[in-house]
Amino acid sequence: MTTAAATPPSTRPATMTTAPIAAAERAATRKGTTMSRHALSVLVENNPGVLARVSVLFARRSFNIDHLVVGPTEDPKVSRMTIVVNVGTEQLHKVTNQLDKLIEVIHIEELDDAAAIRERLWAINDNGPRPVGAMAAAWG
């Protein structure tokens, strides 16, 4: 895989910025827990329906997905999902545990710094369509 030559857009579309974060902040205040954004890099089997299965799990367990990108890896049988969630630490632990139970989920890793996330987001999709760029930009 090569790192994309394109640079992330310097400004993000207005629709991508405040709305989800504000909603998440409201939810955090309501629950009285400290929520923060976490990016999960999830390797999944490249099977039909796997995206539905992952998103159904998030919905079923009441976890909101802030951002989601799916792309290929060098192995055609494996896809990578990069999922950004706004949750507390305990909730993060629960959601990864539930995710790990899915038969088609091969590996889960939390990406811990913005630069790595930006690189990963661009690396997984060399063509750099807008949502990916927007997501990387949204991260920082």
């Binding site: 390797l43 999944v44 089997e45 039909p48 329906g49 539905a52 299965r53 159904v56 799990l57 079923r60 494996v78 305990e90 632990h93 629960k94 990864t96 545990n97 539930q98 790990d100 139970k101 899915l102 038969i103 088609e104 989920v105 091969i106 590996h107 889960i108 890793e109 939390e110």
Partner: protein, 603 residues
């Protein structure tokens, strides 16, 4: 969060020789049947329809598989659950596309909640029609995603055999659960290339079976330090077949035991260390033991809301050792101090070994005062019930007498529906052996009893299988009596007929000012259960007086050439006690209406 995506687990999971040559299946349907035979499946519950017809055609030639034609697919699903729960073997059900498949959703969700190993096979419309809203098309793989352990859609005939083998492996390993395999009609009729048959890789499926040794040591240290420990035993112990190991651990340590609704029979009710069932309708001794404990040793249990009551006030002084095969259960509802991730049998075996070692080197727990408290609570607040003053029949008495006459041996199996009768059947039958008590615990599916009893009886024809059902529950799935009568499955059904949706009525009496909104049923008149039983080819009996109960149960026990249905017409106002009102603390337990035990103030 860790994974090595290289491992390839075996997918053949069966005693049958996977290398045995199959008789070269010509098409997908034959490959499917050959795979079932190779895995060792002997019984299937199902109902055919258009999309699954090629599979039924292949099944027609099988001499090794008995197919039991049900009257409703939900019955097939619950029968597969009963079959699995009574034996530990994978239960199998089969249905056609669309409505056939959607009728399996309730049993699948039920099996998912109660960790029942089960494989559901459905036919779907040809792959060229999938997505076109074709006749009897339903996206059952997606529909069942949140209520199964896994679900497959197969459209390639060469993938049928490996997918099915994987489905059995997934259903029966790790935390057991239901797996759906949906096969398109064209895959069933297309030619199979035997050379391509390989196992699925399943790179993301690696159930952990043995706990970490340091966690076992930590757990035993906590057990030895504790002064008020309790063994909180859940259904995982039954599923893992860990009852012997549990008994060793309990007797070696002397720690009191509580068994949840799903674990009744995992530890003998007659054992002096047994405090009974905890939870919303638990015994005072079991609820009290958990509330006052300083250490909960949870074995294959999941801190369900029906056990904990209001979570914040559940066992406030207890540390927690949580043993479960599913890592996602650890800390889900209650934080754990020590996590033991692994198979219950393996885990408890290791706890016994470690405790034995420490005991040899002089370590011993000091639980004497605590065991005394538990034993006194148990003696002071035994299970009981009021005998109706008007001479009518107490439902608890009926269940006690059925148990007294049918016995508590390993060959007496009791299957309940959901509601008051379920709670009475969990309390007033003495369970001495695992897999003798089957019920819908997590999902609470009314209508479970009759078809699940049918499945249990097919799996264990030598056993006496009693469905203890309510008049509401019974009317949801009683069509399977026809299946039982025709297929020679002589189950016995005791309808605890109180002419009401009894548990609903109880809540209305207690929490809704006796406003009985839509909870009454005219079940003493319509339907006439005795006539209904006879119409289905069963023996129908009725009993409404205490003095006739024994003779009626004995008459039911004497008939084994057809199913028996007994309409026990019981007192309408009987309630399930003890009770912790929903959403309140376990400390608010009532021994009987408006009567609180004093165990909290006592010590």
């Amino acid at each position: 969060m860790t994974a090595q995506p290289t491992q390839t687990p075996p997918v053949t999971g069966s005693a049958a020789d996977p290398a045995a040559p199959a008789a070269a299946p010509a098409n997908g349907a034959e490959a499917l049947v050959a795979t079932l035979e190779r895995i060792g499946v002997s019984d299937i519950f199902g109902l055919p329809g258009g999309a699954v017809l090629p599979l039924y055609d292949a099944l027609y030639q099988s001499s090794r598989i008995r197919h039991i034609l049900v009257r409703h697919e939900q019955g097939a699903g619950h029968a597969a659950q009963g079959y699995a729960s009574a034996t530990g073997r994978v239960g199998v059900c089969m249905a056609t596309s669309g409505p056939g498949a959607t009728n399996l959703v309730t049993p699948l969700a039920d099996a998912n909640m109660d960790s029942v190993p089960m494989v559901a096979i459905t036919g779907n419309v040809p792959s060229s029609s999938i997505g076109s809203d074709a006749f009897q098309e339903a996206d059952i793989r997606s529909i069942t995603m949140p209520v199964t352990k896994h679900s497959f859609l197969v459209t390639d005939p060469d993938q049928i055999a490996p997918t099915l083998a994987s489905a059995f492996h997934i259903a029966s390993s790790g935390r057991p659960g239901p797996v759906l395999v949906d096969v398109s009609k064209d895959a069933l009729v297309s030619a199979v290339d035997p050379a391509t048959l390989t196992d699925l890789a399943l790179p993301g499926y690696r159930p952990v079976t043995a706990p970490r040794p340091e966690a076992v040591r930590d757990a035993v240290s906590l057990m030895l330090q504790a002064r008020r420990p309790v063994l909180y035993v859940g259904g995982g112990v039954v599923r893992a077949g860990a009852d012997r190991e549990l008994r060793s651990l309990a007797e070696l340590s002397g720690i009191p035991v509580v068994t949840t609704l799903m674990a009744r029979g995992a530890f003998p009710d007659s054992h002096p260390q047994h405090m009974g069932m905890p939870g919303m309708h638990g015994t005072v001794a079991a609820v009290g033991a958990l509330q006052k404990s300083d250490l909960i040793i949870s074995l294959g249990a999941r801190f369900d809301d029906r056990v904990t009551g209001k979570l914040d006030s559940f066992a406030p002084h207890a540390r927690v050792i949580h043993a479960d095969i599913d890592p996602a259960e650890i800390g889900k509802n209650r934080a754990a101090d020590v996590a033991l991730v692994g198979d219950a049998r393996e885990t408890i075996g290791q706890l016994v070994a470690e405790l034995t070692d420490r005991t040899r080197s002089g370590a011993a727990g000091d639980y004497e005062e605590w065991v005394g408290f538990c034993t006194r609570t148990k003696a002071r607040y035994p299970l009981g019930y009021e005998t109706p003053a008007d001479g009518s029949l107490a439902p608890q008495y009926v269940i006690e007498r059925i148990n007294a006459i049918s016995g508590s041996g390993p060959d007496s199996v009791y299957v309940a529906g959901v509601g008051q009768h379920q709670m009475w059947a969990s309390h007033f039958v003495s369970y001495e052996h695992p897999r003798t008590w089957l019920n819908s615990g997590g999902l609470g599916t009314m209508g479970y009893a009759v078809p699940a009893a049918m499945g249990a009886k097919v799996a264990r024809p030598e056993a006496t299988v009693w469905a203890i059902d309510g008049d509401g529950c019974f009317q949801m799935t009683n069509q399977e009596l026809a299946t039982c009568a025709v297929e020679g499955i002589p189950i016995k059904v005791a309808i605890i007929n109180n002419a009401a949706l009894g548990m609903v009525r109880q809540w209305q009496a207690l929490f809704f000012s006796e406003r009985y909104s839509h909870s009454g049923l005219p079940s003493m008149q319509v339907p006439d259960f005795v006539t209904l039983a006879e119409a289905y080819g069963c023996l129908g009996l009725r009993c409404d007086r205490p003095e006739d109960v024994d003779a009626t149960v004995e008459a039911a026990m004497a008939v084994n050439d057809r199913p028996v249905v007994v309409d026990f017409q019981v007192h309408k106002d009987a309630m399930v006690w003890p009770m912790v009102p929903a959403g309140t603390s376990n400390d608010a337990i009532q021994y009987a209406r408006d009567l609180k035990p004093t165990f909290l103030e006592d010590e």
